[in-house]
């Protein structure tokens, strides 16, 4: 870089001093000009909202009132004493853990299968990725019909002579059901990530391990999985963060019910802010959620990053 610009400058060294100064100024400014549009967007839609969000969480801020006031930690003490906050938090967490685990297992299994098949790989890859591109509204419509009380699954269940299962009406089944729907919807992208990582593993490692007498399970356990560490980390982190923010599935399929059994935290924040207009209280919950996710992500990074290096 430096060398190349030096050549560039010396070629033009004879130019008049004023012009040279101008050229120098232009050279200094160029990178900032390239960066400027993004910087403005970042400032307005990331930095300012971030700071305001934290400030809001210390304020009593009602959307429909004129005056807002600083109330210190009041919002946070209220949140900690709010049973619905804890319930919705537990719901989101339970959902996120189930779904992240489900997605990781299905995506990894599918990627391993894809790597092993020689024919029809493209076909399977396309079909398995298909649900990812469907919108949440379509997912809601399709699965609403599939798992409703008179839906597809219950039709086959009753034909087997088993009584119908109320997937969305039973408080203990509703979150696992939403989780299955979500795994169906979203394992495609992690599958591609795993597949990419699998192709990056040199075949020679497998051959060496086989010569040492390793069986298929040993290959998976001691060659494949350790080398998939970073892909696994990426998938676990992004999936967990994404699913902790679950909203649409519950909004469309259960509206948080039965009772509050599938009421996720984001729906609580959403309703606090946009139905009851308690912006400050909503912001406090959002800040807590954000902090929690940050801690989880850092923990996951440390846990997986810690295992022995190859």
């Amino acid at each position: 870089m430096a060398v190349q610009t030096d050549i560039n400058m010396s070629a033009k060294a004879q130019v008049r001093p004023r012009a040279r100064q101008r050229m120098h100024w232009r050279k200094v400014m160029t990178p900032y000009l390239f960066l400027l549009p993004y910087m403005i967007a970042f400032l307005v839609f990331q930095a300012v909202p971030f700071v305001t969000g934290i400030a809001l969480s210390f304020m009593r801020w009602e959307l429909l009132e004129r005056s807002q006031s600083f109330i210190g930690l009041q919002n946070f003490t209220d949140v900690f004493a709010d049973d619905l906050f804890w319930q919705s938090f537990r719901n989101s967490f339970y959902f996120a853990v189930l779904t992240t685990a489900g997605v990781a297992v299905v995506a990894l299994a599918a990627a391993l299968a894809l790597k092993h098949v020689t024919r029809g790989q493209t076909f399977f890859r396309v079909v398995l990725y298909l649900p990812v591109i469907l919108s949440i509204s379509v997912i809601g419509i399709v699965w609403g019909r599939v798992i409703s009380n008179d839906g597809l699954i219950n039709y086959y269940i009753t034909r087997l002579g088993i009584p119908r299962i109320s997937f969305l009406g039973d408080a203990s089944l509703v979150i696992p059901s939403l989780s299955v729907v979500t795994v169906w919807w979203s394992f495609g992208f992690p599958m591609l990530i795993f597949l990419a990582a699998l192709y990056a593993i040199p075949e020679s490692l497998y051959e060496a391990a086989r010569l040492d007498g390793a069986g298929n399970w040993a290959l998976l356990r001691f060659v494949t999985l350790p080398l998939l560490r970073y892909a696994l980390l990426l998938v676990l982190v992004t999936q967990f963060v994404g699913h902790m923010q679950v909203f649409g599935q519950a909004y469309i399929l259960t509206n948080g019910g039965p009772g509050h059994a599938s009421y996720p935290l984001i729906m609580y924040i959403y309703q606090t802010a946009w139905r009851y207009y308690h912006m400050g209280y909503g912001a406090a919950m959002a800040v807590l959620l954000g902090l929690f996710m940050l801690v989880i992500v850092l923990m996951q990074v440390r846990l997986i990053g810690q295992q022995e290096e190859y």
């Binding site: 971030f50 305001t52 599918a110 299968a113 298909l130 591109i133 599939v146």
Partner: protein
């Protein structure tokens, strides 16, 4: 290699078994919904469940586009336009802004470079929820509630595109640029005429993911839009589904119709999507 030598191995068999099972689990509900969209209302509710529309009808699709006073308005053509317009605008803007910023980070040395890179990068760790409420207040202060602006501008601030394109630009050999610069090309000229043409694959990949993300966005769209005709397909269909669940045929037709454009685009570009994930090494190392 291995498998060809040994013929059909056990690993391959279980691989096919799993893939066939997943294919079945994915296609079965999808095909059922498509079949239902061609059924008359009575057949949809008939028990036992059946898969062959008889008689097959296009009425559900026709109903999507006809106004009926006895039912809430369903301006599906307008929703389609909204979705297409918003997703296209977001994609064009993000590609423009992110490629410029990505180029700055990939090819320039300047004071504050590391600082800005980590500052922007840290935003990837901040969940969007923290910023939802304040972003809403900002958008409202701009007078953007219930306008396209509210959906089009905020996504530009996302750092993923910048990072993704920077990573790609770093893989382009510098020789091309050096040659152009010696020939007297400005940095902007280099960016426009050397870097961008060499980055089509990365740009297309980013475009696909951005477009899909904008097309399927739910929470933010729900928050900032409130009139029926401003809605995107994703939100509009959901609300229609919730408010008017008694006409399943139309809803099924709506689900199929609204998925169709994006599925077709996907089928054309699917090779590119998986190749770029494979090549970009998102998963590698």
């Amino acid at each position: 290699m291995q498998s060809r030598r040994r013929g059909l191995t056990g690993g391959m068999l279980s691989g096919y078994g799993l893939l066939l099972l997943l294919t079945f689990l994915i296609l079965f509900p999808v095909i059922w919904i498509i079949a239902q969209s061609f059924m008359q209302e009575a057949q949809i509710y008939r028990w036992p469940i059946n898969f062959i529309p008889s008689p097959a009808t296009f009425q559900n699709y026709a109903n999507l586009f006809t106004y009926r006073p006895d039912r809430p308005d369903l301006p599906i053509a307008r929703w389609l336009f909204n979705s297409a317009f918003v997703a296209t605008s977001v994609t064009v803007l993000i590609l423009t802004v992110a490629s410029m910023a990505g180029y700055a980070f990939a090819r320039f040395e300047f004071p504050g470079k590391t600082f800005f890179f980590y500052l922007f990068g840290a935003s990837l760790l901040i969940p969007s929820q923290i910023t939802f409420i304040p972003s809403f207040l900002i958008v409202r202060a701009f007078g953007w509630i219930d306008t396209y602006h509210a959906l089009i501008w905020p996504p530009i601030a996302g750092f993923f595109g910048v990072f993704f394109l920077r990573q790609f630009f770093l893989t382009i050999p510098r020789d091309f640029e050096d040659a152009a610069i010696i020939d007297g090309c400005s940095r902007w000229g280099v960016f426009r005429h050397v870097i961008l043409p060499l980055s089509t694959s990365a740009m297309v990949t980013l475009a696909i993911f951005t477009f899909l993300g904008a097309w399927n966005d739910f929470v933010w769209t729900l928050i900032v839009l409130n009139s029926n005709e401003m809605r995107t397909l994703t939100v509009g269909l959901t609300i229609f589904n919730g408010e008017y669940w008694s006409e399943q045929g139309i809803i099924m037709a709506g689900a199929v119709f609204t998925s169709l454009p994006i599925v077709i685009v996907f089928l054309f570009l699917q090779k590119r999507i998986s190749e770029s994930v494979l090549l970009a090494g998102i998963g590698g190392r």
